[in-house]
């Protein structure tokens, strides 16, 4: 189903002339340096096609004959047509070593041979003829004298191609060359034929599939190493899964386009790269990545996207009733291969509904200075060591992603990890409190256990859960201490949060004793009474005995109770201030 959906995506893009997807037999490649020659094959200049500044310099893309896989000791025998890296084009070795020097010479010879083996009518093309003359006259030696050569040789394996002086496009982009490549695809070579499992038609079966770039590396999505336990019924390599060459080209091209550098259909969260696409063009595709990733160019993209989603009911910008299918594929590299982490298909309407539900679950009261970032990136960074998303345990990001899209329960590890973070930092942030609330609310909604208590966005004075009450109590005790000792550096939170949230009985008796001393220090009698009333309100809901320890879920409620109460204390005081003014 995955390959079929990718194949369909390619077909959809192929009919659209503006999509810029490569036709069969071709590939879009960045060519940083172009050798300009004249009709006689003389070297004119070396042209730099890159634009932009510094590290962001990007070369111009050209539609070129497709690259082919080459590896092993005989890799040098395979070269691309009229473009390749400098080893093939100029015989420039990557190092001074003798082995590399010999290899580069061999590569160049096979590059020249590839051009000379072209049929006669192609060789009569002006451009191709010029390239043949270029090599006959050994003009390639002059390229290295060019003033731009130094910069070109700095790029490891710099791709190069040719252009006729006066022409605007490259020689491999000439119509006669392009026609030749397209014709070659239609001709059936004498390979193994069989039934293609994507199209269901008979055709020539691909032995090796093309590479797919992922996480700065290039790996194959469908590959079978020989004699490693994957060969079945005497079939080796990709013959294990018969896929015709044209279907193979279609799905890899579609996938590479989705995974490409400038792709908007891609989100990377943790070590999982997710690509997504819809059956038909839809605006949902455009706002989808903002829910998950972190956009460096536009840090507030997620806020805007969420706003769009919530307002969609009125504006109709995102069609929440759409039945168009939406595909999400989570990929992550696993020992030289690409593994599928998750695969989700559903209608756009359902998918956007689930995402909205996620933000509803996550919603929690926040201080006015908090701008409120929502994307999955921020969520993960809130539960990661040192706030680095790389420190997230493997699989967790994928599981959360899946829970958001499918509307299922969040993984239990999300709760545990959050509580571990809270105890380590001895503080509860807005995002962390939101995560805990989302987990508990969703869990109770799906499993509808007896405890029918949903956690509210702001302080809920009717919640009598001991964990929640103790969290509130802790927040009030901390506030009393802060008011008794203005400008204090470390409060009881910094010392006792961990113990108070897990084994309340051990610390609360001491904290309550401490509270009496703090209250005694307060000058304002009214404030004192206020606090006492607040404490007795909270105590009214707690059973006579203090619980000896709190379970994981109750520890989560403790954190939420603490956060809610603290927010309430601060909003109240600010409203008091306003009324005074």
């Amino acid at each position: 189903m995955i390959l079929q959906a990718l194949y369909d995506y390619y077909q959809r893009k192929a009919v659209d002339p503006d999509s810029g997807i490569a036709p069969e037999g071709f590939v879009w490649k960045e060519i940083p340096f172009v050798i300009v020659i004249n009709h006689e094959g003389d070297f004119i200049s070396l042209e730099d096609t890159r634009e932009g500044d510094g590290k962001k310099k990007r070369a111009k893309k050209y539609l070129l004959p497709k690259s082919v896989g080459r590896s092993g000791s005989n890799g040098w025998m395979t070269s691309f047509l009229l473009w390749d890296h400098y080893g093939y084009v100029l015989g420039h070795a990557r190092s001074e070593g003798e082995k590399d020097q010999v290899m580069a010479q061999k590569q160049m010879l096979s590059f020249i041979k590839k051009i000379q083996d072209l049929p006669q009518e192609i060789k009569e093309d002006n451009g191709v003829l010029a390239v043949i003359r270029f090599y006959d006259q050994r003009s390639y030696e002059k390229v290295k004298d060019s003033d731009k050569w130094e910069e070109c040789s700095k790029i490891i394996g710099c791709n190069m191609s040719f252009r006729l002086d006066g022409d605007s496009s490259l020689i491999p982009c000439n119509t006669s060359v392009q026609k030749y490549i397209a014709d070659q695809c239609d001709e059936n070579a004498d390979g193994v034929t069989g039934l293609c499992l994507i199209t269901g038609k008979r055709g020539e079966i691909a032995r090796i599939h093309s590479d797919t770039p992922i996480n700065k590396d290039s790996k194959k999505f469908v590959s079978f190493q020989r004699s490693s336990g994957y060969d079945s019924y005497g079939k080796e390599q990709a013959f294990n899964a018969p896929i015709s060459k044209s279907a193979e080209f279609a799905y890899t091209t579609a996938m590479n386009m989705l995974l490409g550098k400038d792709s908007i259909n891609k989100v990377q969260v943790g070590n999982t790269t997710s690509i997504f696409w819809s059956q038909k063009e839809d605006v949902f595709e455009a706002i989808f990545p903002s829910f998950f990733g972190y956009n460096k160019d536009n840090p507030d993209a997620d806020v805007k996207a969420v706003k769009t989603l919530f307002e969609s009911a009125w504006t109709g910008y995102v069609n929440t009733n759409s039945n168009t299918r939406f595909y999400i594929l989570g990929l992550s590299p696993n020992s030289a291969r690409i593994a599928v982490r998750f695969w989700h298909t559903g209608s756009i309407g359902k998918c956007s509904g689930n995402i909205k539900q996620h933000f509803d679950d996550l919603e929690i009261i926040r201080p006015s200075h908090d701008r409120g970032h929502y994307s999955l990136f921020w969520l993960l960074s809130a539960i990661a060591h040192e706030k680095k998303v790389d420190n997230i345990p493997p699989n967790l990001s994928g599981q959360i992603f899946e829970a958001v899209i499918t509307g299922g329960t969040y993984p239990a590890t999300m709760l545990q990890q959050t509580i571990r973070r809270i105890r380590a930092t001895q503080d509860v942030t807005r995002v962390q409190a939101g995560i805990l609330k989302a987990y508990l609310n969703r869990f109770h909604r799906i499993y509808s256990t007896k405890e029918k208590e949903t956690i509210t966005v702001a302080l809920d004075s009717n919640n009598i859960n001991p964990g929640y009450r103790l969290g509130r109590l802790f927040a009030v005790l901390e506030k009393i201490q802060e008011e008794a000792n203005p400008g204090i550096n470390a409060t009881i939170r910094d010392r006792f949060y961990g113990a108070a949230s897990s084994t309340p009985v051990t610390v609360f008796s001491q904290l309550l004793k401490l509270k009496n001393h703090h209250l005694a220090k307060l000058d304002n009698e009214g404030r004192k009474v206020n606090f006492e009333r607040m404490l007795s309100d909270i105590f009214a809901g707690i059973d006579a005995s203090m619980p000896a320890h709190l379970a994981m879920e109750d520890q989560a409620r403790f954190a939420i109770g603490y956060y809610h109460q603290r927010q309430a204390l601060f909003t109240k005081s600010s409203s008091n201030n306003e009324s005074k003014n």
Partner: protein, 237 residues
């Protein structure tokens, strides 16, 4: 002898299942639903003889399709009777897999009786000198499909099997129950979806040594998949 194939129905369920797709069998990804060949394996685990052949005709999906991603250790080698065995420590591989979770199906299969002359020679047939003359003359004259229908029904009802049936991989064993139509049963899920081309089975008929896979377009309609007959045009071999 004139006879009709009898159709049997089994309900199977399990916690996990992996009907590995051929294109993604290294880092395993399962098909969305059970394949006909895997369903055949379940019937054969309960009862099989060279005299019969199972033909899967219908699959009903009783639980919604749920996925789980698991990373586990597998063996990166195939065993051969000529080798001295596999030493697991040197052949271990860590692979990620996308499996199905909480699956339940109702499988309908025809038990096809193969008359004696049409049977393929088994590897362990009785050697010539051991055969009695009367056995040769009278050999299986009393054989009829009803006998096999009876055997299967008895075995399936009692829960007997040659090996525990499983859902795609040996480690995902399943429980099974014979459905005989007297009880009210759960209804299939209400989902209609085109599941694309799916492996039907391997075709050993053309060439035993070099078998080739056969595919069919798998369409789920209201949770029911009608499996085309093996010889029909819909099965692409």
């Amino acid at each position: 002898m004139e006879h009709f194939n009898k159709t049997f129905c089994l309900e199977v369920k399990g916690d996990y299942a992996c009907f590995t797709r051929p294109e993604m069998k290294v880092e395993r990804v399962s098909y969305d639903v059970i394949t006909p060949s895997s369903a055949r394996g379940i019937f054969e685990a309960i009862f099989w003889k060279p005299a019969i052949r199972w033909r899967i005709r219908k699959i009903e999906i009783l639980n919604p399709i749920k996925w789980i991603s698991v990373r586990r250790n597998e063996v990166g080698q195939t065993a051969s009777d000529r080798s001295e065995g596999i030493f697991i420590e040197t052949a271990r591989q860590q692979r990620a897999g996308l499996f199905l979770r909480d699956v339940a199906y109702r499988l309908y299969a025809e038990l096809e009786f193969i008359p004696h002359p049409n049977r393929t020679e088994t590897k362990r047939s009785v050697p010539e000198p051991l055969l009695d003359t009367w056995e040769k003359e009278e050999f299986r004259k009393d054989e009829n499909p009803g006998k096999y229908y009876g055997i299967f029904e008895r075995r399936a009802r009692k829960g007997q099997c040659f090996n525990q049936p499983y859902l795609g991989c040996r480690e995902f064993s399943c429980e099974f129950r014979l459905i005989d139509g007297h009880t009210t049963e759960t209804v299939p899920i209400s989902e209609t979806r085109d599941l694309g081309f799916m492996l039907y089975d391997l075709d050993f008929e053309k060439n035993v040594k070099e078998s080739s896979p056969a595919f069919f377009r798998c369409c789920m309609e209201q949770g029911v998949i009608n499996v085309p007959a093996w010889d029909s045009e819909e099965v692409r071999k």
